[in-house]
């Protein structure tokens, strides 16, 4: 009886397996994310891009979108799981997935990987990023114009080059308007923890800051800003709905066009490893509408946005000095991408060291 049951089950399994294999014509694309698609920030930005991808390529692809994968050893398991499920193109969307992605990529040379915000490539690993620093420069200028105390608060997660680059760009933008602008930086050791971000925001406001920006993913700092009648900037996503009276603008990630282009290339066979870094010009970075500010500030912001997008101006144009005075870019010289991607120091005018303050 048992033997008959086992044979029947095996036959059924085989039939289903064959059936499933025949249905497997779709190109499988996988995404590994550090947060939930509803975070209102970073991961939601990627999800919006995926929705665009699905709208464009619809039936030809099958997308798996993993959420809340912690950075670290568990990530390797998640990525490998996607490979074994048949995904041929895998996007890992956080810096901390760099080593796990490279490890899995080395094991599966036929699978294509794309790692966001990292700096190590391989024959089958591309790095992609968006030139958020362009947005940071613009909001730095706005902050210097809108702040009455001349001090801004910056809530950040981990001292990786991407984050430090953003802080420096913000400061350079602010210093271009007010050379004595000050920055108070708080590291919360997490990409997203609304309660902690709120506490950091409260601490900054209690210390006399009147404008905040963040490199963390929830809307809480802006909400606190609105409660206190102060101003702030949205991160990765237009956070206007969460704080209509407080948001000046937001740096918005627009990954859709990039995802469509890369998936098509992967399906065509024209995919190649590259280090891709698009920005305002390509539409990967967008600024949300300028609100809560006087018209002339908004006009100036639109102006500098256009200049950066057209290439007429680059935020990291010298003279730029490290904290100790060493010159890293001479007058008029633009820092190259490599120097930006490995940035681990603050520019002159910011106190402390990244991470320990």
């Amino acid at each position: 009886m048992l033997k008959r049951l086992m044979i029947a089950t095996a036959a059924l399994g085989l039939a289903l397996g064959v059936g499933a294999a025949q249905a497997q014509e779709k190109f499988k694309v996988g995404f590994v994310n550090v947060g939930p698609k509803t975070d209102g920030g970073w991961t939601q930005g990627h999800w919006t891009g995926v929705e665009m991808l699905q709208k464009e390529l619809g039936d030809q692809i099958e997308v798996t979108f993993l959420e809340n994968v912690p950075e670290g050893p568990d990530a390797e398991r998640a990525i490998e799981g996607l490979v074994q499920a048949g995904n041929k193109l895998i996007f890992t969307t956080s810096f901390g997935f760099m080593e796990p992605t490279l490890k899995v990529a080395a094991k599966y040379p036929d699978v294509m990987f794309e790692h966001a915000t990292g700096f190590k490539t391989a024959p089958n690993v591309t790095t992609y990023n968006a030139r958020f620093y362009q947005g940071r420069y613009i909001i730095g200028q706005i902050a210097a114009k809108m702040s009455e105390t001349g001090t801004a608060g910056y809530i950040v997660s981990f001292p990786i080059p991407e984050v430090v680059m953003g802080i420096n760009s913000f400061m350079l933008g602010a210093q271009s308007i007010n050379p004595d602008f000050k920055l108070k930086i708080v590291w919360i050791n997490s990409w997203m923890d609304p309660a902690k971000e709120g506490e950091a925001a409260k601490a900054l406001f209690d210390q006399g800051v009147d404008i905040i920006t963040q490199h963390t993913d929830s809307t809480e700092p802006l909400k606190i800003a609105q409660e206190r009648g102060k101003l702030g900037f949205g991160q990765a996503h237009d956070m206007y709905d969460a704080a209509p009276k407080a948001q000046l603008t937001a740096i918005v990630d627009n990954w859709g066009p990039y995802y469509i282009a890369r998936t098509k290339a992967a399906m065509d066979g024209t995919w190649e490893s590259q280090a891709s870094w698009d920005g305002l010009a390509e539409g990967t970075v967008q600024m949300s509408p300028y609100t809560n500010m006087p018209d002339d500030v908004a006009a100036a912001a639109k102006d500098i946005e256009a200049k950066i997008a057209s290439g007429e101006f680059h935020p990291f144009t010298g003279p730029i000095y490290k904290q100790d005075g060493t010159e890293v870019a001479a007058d008029g010289v633009v820092m190259d991408d490599g120097a930006l991607l490995t940035m681990d120091y603050y520019v002159k005018g910011i106190d402390g060291t990244p991470g320990t303050n």
Partner: protein, 306 residues
């Protein structure tokens, strides 16, 4: 409002969820049950509190729902460990994972929806006293509930017969059973109380600390609450001081960073756990301290001998 005043208020808001969750866990542990699922119960409370408040428009409905959700989650643990006599540590860990995952599932459509913040009380005259007023008379209602709970739990455990029975069950369940006390019943109720408090702590996070729901928003506070119970050597008043201490470390580290004082942020994040290890070493070394407050049957399953 001066900076010192603002800092104290922020510390109280940061400490209250820790104190609430730890208080419930203290009662459960005093009865001899080690419930590692505090994180899971807290986050179920957070999501239930937010959803109920969002749907009804009344924070009080959210609070009731959160307490209920915490108790429901705790009852699952209680059934598995007390009735089915499963290993308490493993069950607690499983409960945490279940809570985090399940809350993410039901909360998915509520993420980033606008929430309602529980407003602070305002007693005309008292709240306006400079400095002392807002701190003592201007907190949100749950802070006062927490203070009453600390007093209540302390009184119950050490001044009533019921508390004595609960502690007896935690110290020697075989003798308690021999004396005729319902060990499983007492423990079940203690675990439910733990769940109710943890649920309330979670609601505090989604209704007071922030006014939103986001995946995994408790971010490890349940584990800090567990460490707190040990740090306080299972005494409610020490728990209150410990919670304020742990909350203060968290807030002051942000202020220190903003002031430019060089402190490695990662070290300060680890500090609550480091202090707890130190306390554990101290009380393990001192036999008198060990005997007086640690529930001797903590974590041990009870099966009445047939």
């Amino acid at each position: 409002m001066s900076m010192a005043e603002a800092i104290i208020i922020t510390i109280i808001v940061a400490s209250t969820p820790l104190l609430l969750a730890a208080l419930g866990e203290l009662v459960a542990e005093r009865a001899g049950v080690l419930n590692l699922g505090v994180e899971g119960m807290m986050i179920m409370g957070a999501v239930a509190g937010f959803i109920a408040t969002y749907e009804s428009g009344q924070p009080i409905v959210g609070i009731v729902a959160a307490v209920f959700a915490g108790m429901l989650t705790a009852s699952l643990f209680a059934f598995v460990t007390l009735v089915l006599v499963a290993n308490q540590v493993a069950s607690g860990l499983a409960l945490t994972l279940l809570g985090i995952g399940f809350s993410a599932l039901i909360g998915e459509s509520y993420a980033n929806k606008p929430g309602i913040k529980l407003s602070r009380i305002h007693i005309p005259g008292l709240t306006d006293i400079p400095f002392v007023g807002p701190i003592v008379f201007g907190q949100d209602p749950l802070v006062y509930v927490t203070i009453l709970l600390v007093i209540g739990v302390s009184w119950f455990l050490f001044r009533t017969r019921g508390g004595l029975i609960l502690r007896a069950v935690g110290d020697n369940h075989v003798s308690a059973h021999a004396l005729g006390y319902g060990v499983v019943r007492v423990r079940f109720l203690a675990v439910l109380f733990g769940g109710a408090c943890a649920g309330l702590a979670g609601a505090y996070l989604s209704l007071v600390s922030t006014s939103q729901w986001l995946d995994n928003m408790t971010a490890g506070r349940g584990w800090i609450a567990l460490a707190l119970v040990v740090f306080a050597t299972w005494l409610p008043w020490r728990l209150a001081i410990g919670a304020l201490l742990f909350g203060a470390v968290g807030i002051l580290q942000f202020h220190a960073q903003a002031l430019g004082i060089r402190v490695p942020a990662q070290f300060l994040s680890a500090l609550p756990y480091l202090i707890t290890i130190v306390v554990l070493v101290l009380i393990s070394g001192n036999r008198l301290l060990m005997r007086s407050n640690t529930p001797a049957m903590l974590g041990q399953s009870f099966v009445p001998d047939r």
